[in-house]
Symmetry: C2
Subunit: 244 residues, 2 copies
């Protein structure tokens, strides 16, 4: 692990890259302890603050964790699916909000991926997954439920569908797509009637999953996609009534 003091890049960035490469290549394994900050600063011939900046970069990516006290230090972190979800969601959310991705494009991607889970979920969903979905559907029928809560419940419902596929990698990938759309979905005001329609579709999806009818799930998801887009377009049209 060497760095180039004459490189235009920051020393802390170079050090972070060197350590990151060591982790990715397997040179540093999970739970391995890195040298102390003092030792690292000696190895790389830089000051301790510079080493610390490098370590903070790695900590921001959940690549290491630090612990104070004797026998403390920086340890290679086992990247959990949980942490990966979080980063995935943050990244996806920013990507959508900063790059003028239209609601239509995000919606299309999300439902395309969700349909990809349909057949697996129809095969493997457990009673637990079905129970979660039924519970969320029930919650969605409560009168007086705020739009925010309705959206949260919607996410939980679809999350259960995806988790039903029993593939953590798929769940991880979908988490970003589904949750990143939350801010966009929250902009949609759900009328009494549209909630009824969505709940009906959710019920149909749960029924089809119970019967392990994959094609039915897929077609209902497509209907839901179309309907979601319709609502969004209706609201967009209302906001710009003079557009033509």
């Amino acid at each position: 692990m060497k760095i180039d003091p004459n490189s235009p890049a920051d020393l802390s960035a170079q050090i972070a890259t060197a350590i990151r490469d060591a982790i990715i290549s397997g040179e540093l394994i999970v739970d391995a302890r890195l040298p102390s900050e003092a030792e690292l600063s000696e190895q790389f011939a830089v000051s301790r603050p510079t080493v610390r900046e490098a370590l903070k970069r790695l900590a921001a990516q959940s690549l290491i964790r630090t612990q104070r006290g004797a026998s403390g230090g920086a340890f290679v972190n086992r990247l959990s699916f949980q942490e990966a979800y979080g980063q995935q969601i943050t990244t996806s959310t920013l990507l959508l909000s900063m790059n003028d991705v239209s609601f239509d494009v995000a919606c299309e991607a999300r439902f395309a991926m969700e349909r990809a889970c349909a057949s697996l979920s129809a095969q493997r969903r457990t009673a637990d997954h079905l129970a979660t979905m039924r519970a969320e559907i029930h919650r969605q029928t409560q009168p007086g439920l705020s739009d925010q809560s309705f959206c949260d419940s919607d996410v939980a419902f679809h999350r259960a569908l995806v988790d039903g596929a029993g593939n953590p990698v798929l769940s991880y990938q979908l988490a970003g797509a589904v949750e990143a759309m939350q801010p966009l979905m929250n902009m949609i005001t759900f009328s009494e009637r549209s909630r009824e329609r969505i709940v009906a579709l959710h019920t149909g999806i749960a029924d089809a999953l119970e019967q392990r009818n994959a094609p039915k799930v897929e077609s209902l998801l497509s209907e839901l996609e179309t309907y979601t887009l319709d609502i969004a377009h209706g609201i967009a049209a209302k906001r710009r009534p003079t557009a033509g």
Copy 2:
């Protein structure tokens, strides 16, 4: 934007979170300049090194960029799809390597998502996408091609398929799934015969896309998934010949 000096969390972590929230909420827009490190350290009542650690955390996530000199400083970064790909791939790679995700599970997720792109790609693929795929197929038939190069070409082929769907969000999601599997795929040694079979399937997929035959693409992708798993299992069995 306030922080709690009595919180158990590091001050730099709190400051990073506060600024990140401001960016996500839109309080700080793209290309906006953050206060200088000296001003931030005054605002948060901490020292400059602490502020710097916070800024490095954000830089590690590509949320900000910094520039030296007068009228320099830290600016909110427009997260490009390119940068997001990179983070997605790093995260996915570590997730797979650290969590004992089996080849089967990763493979299943990858092909499920790729099939999700099939119908869109059949509708929208351009002549360019087809040309890229044909070129990669041709490369894959070259004798003496290394396994590494064959895998690279394989990634490029599937990348073209996914890009054909014309949905950048889908491309972004798939990039992680496909590229993160590279290290696993590289462990598979491709025999002469298996390469022929894979090339034949690739050719079939390109043909089906040319004819805009979505179901055919999906079924060929399923065949490719099955075949990939067969090869992997065969190699695993060879490595553990006494297992039973």
